[in-house]
C-alpha cells in the first residue's frame, strides 16, 4: 500500500477543503489573562514612573513552563485498494506542552535592549484514525474502522529575536516589554499510512492493524511579543544578605505570545499547523 496523503477537512456538504489548523482554545486566553494580571501592577507602576533604565547591561534567562497549544488538526489520506480509493482521516488532539526557554538580552541604549531566546516546546498527544477500506466484491461499499493512536510527538524549536524596553521599576524589579521576529522549526508526527486485516468472508468487517507514522517538519518565520518580570531580591533576604553573588541572581516570569504558521509538506496536500499561542515560563535570571 502506497498511500497518498492530503490535508483536508470535510465541510458539511462533504466537500474537501484546506483546513485551517487553528481552533481557538480557552486555555490560550486563560494564559494571556493570567499574564496580564501578573504584570498589571508593574505596568501601572511603569506608567507612573519615569521609566529608569536598569544599570546592568546583560541579563541571561533560563526558564521552564507551559505553552498553550491545545487544538485539533485533521489530516486525510487516500490509498488504492480493491480497485477503489481507500481513505483515512486522522484527527490530532494537540495538547499544551512543556517549554524550556532560555536566552540573553543586552542593554544597548538607555532602556532599549536586544535579546535572543531559544525555546523548545514538546508535547505528546493522541489521534483518532477513521478509515474506510473498499470492499473486495462491491463498488461503493467501504468498510469502516476507527482506531486510537497514542504517543504522537509535536515539537517546536523556536529562535526569538527581541527588542526590549526595560524599566527598572524598583531597585530589585525590572519589567520589560518585548517584540520581534521568530524563526520556528515545527516537527509533527503524522499518520502517513494505515494497515488493516481482513476478517474474511463476507468481508463486511475489517480490523485496524496499525499505522505508519512519519515525522514531518517545516521551518517558518513569525512574530513574538512578551513581558518579562525579573526580580532580584534574593540578596535582600535576611538570611542571604551577606551573599554578594546573589546581587546578580534573580527569579523571573516571562509571558510570551507567538504567532506563526507552518505548512507541513506531506506527500499530499500541505497541512497548515498553527505554531502560535501563549507561553508562560519562569526561572532564574543572571544580570551583569
Amino acid at each position: 500500500m502506497s498511500p497518498i496523503r492530503t490535508a483536508a477537512s470535510t465541510d458539511a456538504a462533504g466537500q474537501a477543503r484546506p483546513r485551517p489548523a487553528r481552533s481557538p482554545h480557552p486555555r490560550s486566553l486563560l494564559f494571556a489573562v493570567a499574564g496580564l494580571l501578573v504584570t498589571a501592577p508593574a505596568l501601572a507602576q511603569l506608567g507612573q514612573l519615569a521609566q529608569p533604565a536598569p544599570t546592568d547591561r546583560i541579563v541571561v534567562r533560563l526558564d521552564s513552563g507551559l505553552r498553550s497549544a491545545s487544538h485539533t488538526i485533521a489530516d486525510t489520506g487516500v490509498f488504492p485498494a480493491n480497485l477503489e480509493q481507500g481513505r483515512f482521516r486522522t484527527d490530532y488532539d494537540l495538547k499544551d506542552g512543556r517549554v524550556v526557554d532560555g536566552g540573553a538580552s543586552f542593554l544597548l541604549w538607555r532602556n532599549l535592549a536586544i535579546g535572543l531566546d531559544v525555546s523548545n516546546y514538546r508535547s505528546i498527544h493522541d489521534a483518532q484514525i477513521h478509515s474506510e477500506l473498499p470492499h473486495p466484491f462491491f463498488f461503493d461499499a467501504p468498510r469502516a474502522s476507527t482506531a486510537q493512536v497514542a504517543g504522537l510527538e509535536r515539537r517546536d524549536l523556536g529562535i526569538h529575536i527581541r527588542a526590549l524596553w526595560m524599566s527598572q521599576v524598583a531597585g530589585w524589579l525590572v519589567v520589560s516589554v518585548s517584540a520581534g521576529p521568530s524563526v520556528i522549526t515545527a516537527r509533527q508526527d503524522l499518520v502517513s499510512a494505515v494497515q488493516h486485516t481482513e476478517v474474511g468472508f463476507p468481508f463486511d468487517e475489517i480490523v485496524f492493524a496499525g499505522q505508519t507514522v512519519s515525522a514531518e517538519s517545516e521551518t517558518t518565520a513569525g512574530l513574538n511579543a512578551g513581558i518579562d518580570i525579573d526580580s532580584f531580591f534574593l540578596h535582600r533576604l535576611p538570611f542571604l544578605r551577606n551573599v554578594e553573588v546573589l546581587r546578580h541572581v534573580g527569579l523571573g516570569l516571562l509571558v510570551r505570545y507567538v504567532r506563526a504558521t507552518a505548512v507541513l509538506q506531506s506527500a499530499g496536500e500541505p497541512i497548515e499547523l498553527d505554531l502560535g499561542g501563549v507561553q508562560i515560563t519562569s526561572g532564574v535570571r543572571f544580570r551583569f
Binding site: N82, L83, H135, P136, F137, F138, F139, D140, A141, E198, G200, F201, P202, F203
Partner: protein, 563 residues
C-alpha cells in the same frame, strides 16, 4: 400431476386413535399412499399421531434418517429428513420431513407408502441396466451415477410398485432419468431432469479484477492469478467458484457435462491484464458470487449444499456464429436458454450453463437474446436448482416440478432485489420479471403479472398437458405469483381476492418463509397444496400466528386458488 389415490391423514389418525398402541402392538395402517401434512395449523392430535406414525415407521426401519440439521432461522428448531426404504431399497419419492422443538413435534410433511409388496432381488445386474440406459440415451452414462435400485410407485395405478434401476444420462440436450425394470429390462418411466431457464430451451493468489458485464456495467471480480495470467476462480468466498469458457466448442461442452472430459485451469475464463472484457464470463462469475452472498446473508446458507460445495458454470458453450447451422434442440438449449445440470460435471456435483444468446440482428418472437449470464436473476435461478437438489429434491415434473421452478424464480428475484440495492448503487431496477436484462424487450416470466407471458395466475388456469414435464415452467407462476402477492399485495385477477402483502420493506420475511418451506419442510413430490401448508407453517414458525407474514402467505395462496 397425476392424482394418486390418497388417504387423508384424518383417516389414518382415526385408525391410530381407535386402536391402542403399545410397544408390541402396532396400529393398523391402511395400505397405499399416505400424505402427511400436519403443522401448527393442524389439530394437535393430528400432529401427535403423525409424529407417532413417523416414530413407528422409523422403528420398523421403513424410514431412515438421512439428514438432521438445526434451523438457522428459528433457534431451537431441529429438522429431520427421513427417506422410506423397503427391504433396504429406497422407495422413490417417499420421504418425510419432521420439525421439532425441544424434542416435541412442530410439523410433519411428506409421503409414505404402506403395504409395498415387491421382491427386492433384481434379475438384472447394475451393469446390465447401464447398458440398457446407454442404448436408450445413446450416451455413456455418468461414471458418477451408476444405476441404483429403487422401488418405484406406479404413477397411475394405486398400490402397484416395481423394482427398477434408476440411472441418469446426459444426451446433449436433456438430462434424462431412466427407470428400467430390474427384472425385464423394460423402460418403465423416464423424464428430463435438466432444469432449464425456460421451456425447451484469503489466499495468496487471490486478486480483485475489474470486469465489464454484458451490459457494460463495472463489476469487481474475485479471481486467481497464476503465472501472470488471471483466471476466473474465486477463492475468497468459502465455496470456490469457477467459471469456465468453453470457447464455443459444443462437443467439448457436452463431454464435460457428461463427466467424460475433465476441466483444467486452461479451460477457465482468463484475462491477461485483469481488466475483463468478456461480459458473459464477468457476469457468470460475479453473479455466482453474488448469489452465494445472497444465500449466505439472507438465509445463512453456505452454497448449494450448505457445506460450501463449489459453484461451477460454463459460458460460451457454443459459438453465436453457428446458430444458423446447428439443430433446433441445440439452439433451444445452448443459445436460447440457461440450465442447471444437477449431476453433471467432472465431479458430478452440478454445473450451471449459460446460453450464448443470438447475434444482435437476430430476433426470436420480437426479442433479442443476449448472453444469459448477463442477468443476475437467471444466474441465481439456475443455482437455486442446485439448492433444491440438495434439499427437497423436488421432482422435476408436474406440480413438484413447477414448485422447483418457482423456488428458483423466488431466489432469482430475491437475489436481484438484494443485489441491486447493495451492489449496483441503484443503477439497475430490480423487479419481478425474469431475464429482462438479457431478453429484450420484456424478459421471459413475470411473477407480478404472469399473464403478460401467457402463464397462469390462478390454479384454475394451470396447464394440464404433458409438455414441458407437465408445465413446470408455466405452472411455476402460480406459486410465483403467490410469492409476489405476499410481498407486494394486490388483487388476484381471476379470484378477485385481495392480499395484504407485507410490503417491499419486509420482503425478506416472505423470502425466508419460502426458503425455509422449500428447503427443510417440503419433500420431493410435494404439490401446490403441500407448498401452501409448508409455507404457512414456515411463516408461523418464523413470525408467529398473527403476523403479517403468516396472513399474507395464507391470503396469497388462497388468492391464486391453492387451498
Amino acid at each position: 400431476m397425476h392424482e394418486l389415490s390418497r388417504f387423508t391423514i384424518g383417516t389414518l389418525l382415526l385408525a391410530l386413535v381407535t386402536v391402542p398402541t403399545s410397544a408390541t402392538a402396532q396400529p393398523p395402517v391402511p395400505n397405499g399412499v399416505l400424505r402427511l401434512s400436519a403443522g401448527s395449523g393442524s389439530a394437535l392430535t393430528a400432529l401427535r399421531d403423525a409424529d407417532a406414525l413417523v416414530n413407528q415407521l422409523t422403528r420398523d426401519e421403513s424410514l431412515r434418517l438421512v439428514r438432521q440439521e438445526g434451523d438457522p432461522l428459528v433457534p431451537g428448531r431441529e429438522h429431520e429428513r427421513l427417506q422410506q426404504f423397503h427391504d433396504g431399497v429406497l422407495v422413490f419419492g417417499a420421504e418425510v420431513t419432521r420439525q421439532t422443538s425441544q424434542g416435541l413435534p412442530v410439523s410433519v410433511f411428506g409421503t409414505v407408502h404402506r403395504g409395498i409388496d415387491v421382491d427386492t432381488t433384481p434379475t438384472l445386474s447394475a451393469d446390465d441396466a447401464a447398458r440398457i440406459v446407454e442404448g436408450l440415451s445413446g450416451r455413456t452414462i455418468f461414471p458418477t451415477a451408476a444405476p441404483k435400485l429403487v422401488v418405484l410407485p406406479d404413477r397411475d395405478a394405486e398400490s402397484v410398485y416395481r423394482l427398477v434401476y434408476e440411472a441418469r444420462a446426459f444426451s446433449g440436450a436433456q438430462l434424462m432419468v431412466y427407470f428400467v425394470d430390474a427384472a425385464s429390462g423394460a423402460l418403465v418411466w423416464s423424464y428430463n431432469d435438466l432444469k432449464t431457464q425456460q421451456p425447451a430451451l484469503p489466499c495468496s493468489r487471490c486478486v480483485i479484477g475489474e470486469g465489464l458485464g454484458v451490459k457494460s456495467d463495472r463489476k469487481k471480480m474475485s479471481v486467481t492469478t497464476v503465472g501472470g495470467a488471471f483466471l476466473a476462480q474465486d477463492q475468497l468466498r468459502p465455496a470456490q467458484i469457477f467459471t469456465f469458457d468453453m470457447r464455443g466448442d459444443l462437443d467439448h461442452t457436452e463431454l464435460v457435462l457428461s463427466g467424460i472430459a475433465q476441466l483444467f485451469d486452461a479451460d477457465l475464463s482468463t484475462d491477461t491484464d485483469n481488466r475483463w472484457l468478456d461480459g458473459a464470463s464477468v457476469d457468470a462469475h460475479v453473479g455466482m458470487g453474488w448469489t452465494y452472498d445472497y444465500l449466505y446473508k439472507r438465509f445463512g446458507r453456505q452454497s448449494l449444499n450448505d457445506q460450501n460445495v463449489r459453484l461451477l458454470s460454463l459460458v460460451h458453450p457454443v459459438n453465436r456464429a453457428d446458430v444458423f447451422s446447428v439443430p433446433d434442440e441445440v439452439i433451444g438449449l445452448y443459445f436460447l436458454n440457461a440450465f442447471y445440470c444437477g449431476l453433471c460435471g467432472p465431479d458430478g456435483v452440478g454445473v450451471a450453463v449459460f446460453g450464448e444468446g443470438l447475434p444482435p440482428n437476430v430476433l426470436v418472437g420480437g426479442q433479442q437474446f443476449d448472453f444469459f449470464a448477463g442477468a443476475l436473476d437467471i444466474v441465481a435461478h439456475e443455482l437455486a436448482h442446485g439448492v433444491t437438489d440438495f434439499t427437497s429434491a423436488l421432482l422435476y415434473m408436474d406440480e413438484s416440478g413447477a414448485l422447483n421452478e418457482a423456488f428458483s424464480d423466488v431466489i432469482g428475484v430475491g437475489a436481484e432485489f438484494y443485489a441491486e440495492s447493495l451492489f449496483r448503487g441503484g443503477a439497475g431496477v430490480p423487479d419481478y420479471t425474469l431475464g429482462e436484462d438479457v431478453i429484450e424487450p420484456g424478459g421471459i416470466r413475470s411473477l407480478a403479472n404472469p399473464l403478460q407471458f401467457g402463464d397462469p395466475d390462478h390454479y384454475s388456469l394451470r396447464f394440464l398437458g404433458e409438455a414441458d414435464n407437465g408445465g413446470v415452467h408455466t405452472n411455476s407462476l402460480i406459486p410465483g405469483h403467490a410469492f409476489f402477492l405476499a410481498i407486494e399485495g394486490g388483487t388476484n385477477r381471476v379470484s378477485g381476492l385481495r392480499v395484504a402483502g407485507v410490503g417491499a420493506a419486509n420482503r425478506g420475511q416472505i423470502e425466508q418463509v419460502f426458503y425455509r418451506a422449500f428447503t427443510v419442510l417440503m419433500t420431493s413430490n410435494a404439490d401446490f397444496a403441500a407448498a401452501r401448508t409448508a409455507t404457512i407453517q414456515s411463516a408461523l414458525d418464523l413470525y408467529g400466528a398473527n403476523s403479517p407474514a403468516a396472513r399474507a402467505v395464507t391470503q396469497a395462496w388462497t388468492a391464486v386458488g391453492v387451498n
